[in-house]
Symmetry: C2
Subunit: 364 residues, 2 copies
């Protein structure tokens, strides 16, 4: 029979065994995903709670006859999507979704959301039970009933708690360790804090709010505002007008969140976090949506936005034009276009014969 | 003895006589004051409630041997401070403070606040009883007890209700009728609405909030944030960092307002108005404070801010550096520097040997 002391020792051991280290995986290896995994790699080495190895699922492609995953693992650099920024050696690129997510207790998603759904069954089978997930995917989905949040897809398909990460985060600036901020919106505070520990860094300051919906919608809706800001730039109007348009857009972002998610606990503070006003500013002064909308206005609408997208972005698609279309679809469906005159005007200028001048003559 | 009917008629006449038209005067004729009076002139002609004539007190000076007021009244243009923008003919420049404000029922102030105090007795004697005033003066004053709001000086010295007007309003852009917004903060709603009627225009959209303190403090504090934003630009950091610094500054603006005026009814909405986030954006992307701070950081602090001011602004003084100094003085006096690490860091970089790197290494 075990002595009392031996029993205590056994229990302590078992506790130690049960507090296994968190195994982190990043699903996605584009520009932003690579910038994020670079920080995850550093932090996994810094904090005992994390397993040292951070896996990154990479959609395989050949670069000069060599698989991208092999190049990443040999050079510690994603030479295609984040050139010039080194990962720590504990970041392991893996072209196989099952082995990348196998046993993972924390999975981050950063890839175009249309790729998500077919991945879900494999990830669910491979991940550890009780896996916690985080979405850094900027965008929203839609079905016949209206908006579908990406985080809700992940929650449902993986039966997991899902946090979201959004902020003023231009990937190439992050890769040079320039100081920036981001916001993690959580439902389960413990999980939110754990993801904060995984991302907070000397160069990336993470703020948290208990509001996943507000954070996620900010990340999508700001792109509509950026199109309006691009119109202002293309029309050669000054800083007063641009600031007014950004502000009017922000007010409609707040209204949209509260009207469509009245019981989600949308917090006013969310809009003063990095995911709100800061991301909005960055997107309206830099960013591809702004740039294409500027060119569209400069050409006086003689070329379509789709044409300009094709010319300027070489195959990449704009998030903002898609979101503008889909948000307008919802507003029209629900008879709410008049409640959102700015979103509606941006859409109409972009896709109907409404003149550019409507941007500043519409009563907001 | 008068018949009952005659008495009713007499009373109606007397009422008509007592609803005299509002007489508007602008005290100040600089760049911004001239842009504002241009709109006041147009609106005085549009709305019956206003007397047609709008007077503008002009500190007289000679331009090529001719008094500025005479030039303004002959050409309908302030050729010195708002060249190229015509006033309507009903705007009358007057170099005499007493005659400019005589019988005025609505007086707007737009001039450096250090000129205010000596004017007060003359204006009080000349203005109509019950005069309503509005301050478009961006800045704050200080005495041995702490902050003194400009609107409070006007209230006290003129025994008048005072509204304030602040927003993303670069004067030269306003002069070309580019669309912009502004915010009027009021205490007395009726007066706030009257000033809104005087300023709201096809090109200038006026929002109102029942919060004069928040609106007025936004107009002053944003200039400290603009200095921080200028440091970011001078250091060549990217959009992520700039957005983070602007956001951190905005959060301290909100905190400062609420901590120093806990009972003033500071509204969260104020910061989402033109006076808040929009003016902040304009000031941090354009503006003289940003520009001088950028040069200061580019030179690696080898020249003082005062020296750069003198070189770049040809005699004009920065509002932001003054406000940064005075806010720091208050924070130090009250032992609150640690509660406002951003304001404190901006001050210390500008005026002590704290290195520029502190901007992004200070824990905010």
């Amino acid at each position: 029979m075990l002595s009392r002391m031996a029993k205590v020792q056994q229990r302590a051991l078992s506790r130690a065994y049960s507090t296994k280290k968190e195994k982190i995986c990043m699903v996605g290896s584009g520009n932003f995903g690579s910038a994020l995994v670079r920080i995850l790699g550093r932090n996994a080495l810094r904090h005992d709670v994390f397993d040292n190895e951070v896996r990154m699922y990479v959609h395989e492609e050949m670069i000069d006859g060599k698989p991208l995953t092999q190049i990443i693992n040999e050079t510690n650099e994603n030479v295609k999507y984040l050139k010039g920024a080194k990962f720590t050696k504990n970041v392991i690129a893996d072209p196989n979704l099952e082995s990348a997510t196998k046993g993972a207790t924390m999975i981050c998603f950063c890839l175009p959301h249309q790729f998500l759904k077919p991945m879900m069954p494999k990830i669910k089978a491979a991940a550890a039970p009780g896996v916690k997930v985080l979405s850094a995917i900027k965008g929203i989905d839609f079905d016949e009933n209206g908006i579908v949040l990406i985080s809700d897809i992940l929650r449902k398909e993986l039966n997991a708690d899902c946090s979201v990460l959004m902020g003023a985060n231009v990937a190439n600036d992050m890769a040079s360790d320039a100081f920036c901020e981001t916001t993690i919106g959580y439902r389960d505070q413990k999980n939110g804090e754990l993801f904060k520990l995984a991302y907070d860094d000397f160069s990336l300051k993470v703020g948290t709010v208990q509001d996943t919906v507000g954070v996620e919608l900010c990340g999508a809706l700001k792109n509509i505002v950026a199109i309006g800001a691009g119109f202002v730039d293309g029309l050669g109007m000054g800083g007063n007008t641009k600031a007014a348009i950004i502000r009017i857009g922000l007010k409609e972002m707040v209204k949209f969140c509260k009207m469509f998610y009245p019981t989600a606990g949308i917090s006013d503070d969310t809009f003063l976090e990095s995911c709100g006003v800061a991301d909005l500013i960055t997107t309206c002064y830099g960013g591809r949506n702004r740039k294409c909308a500027e060119a569209f206005a400069k050409h006086g609408k003689t070329k379509s936005l789709d044409q300009i997208e094709a010319e300027l972005l070489g195959g990449q698609k704009l998030q903002g034009t898609l979101t503008a279309k889909e948000v307008n679809h919802i507003l029209k469906m629900k008879g709410l276009e008049h409640e959102f005159p700015f979103f509606t005007t941006v859409y109409k200028i972009a896709y109907t014969d409404t003149p550019l001048s409507a941007l500043t003559t519409t009563p907001y």
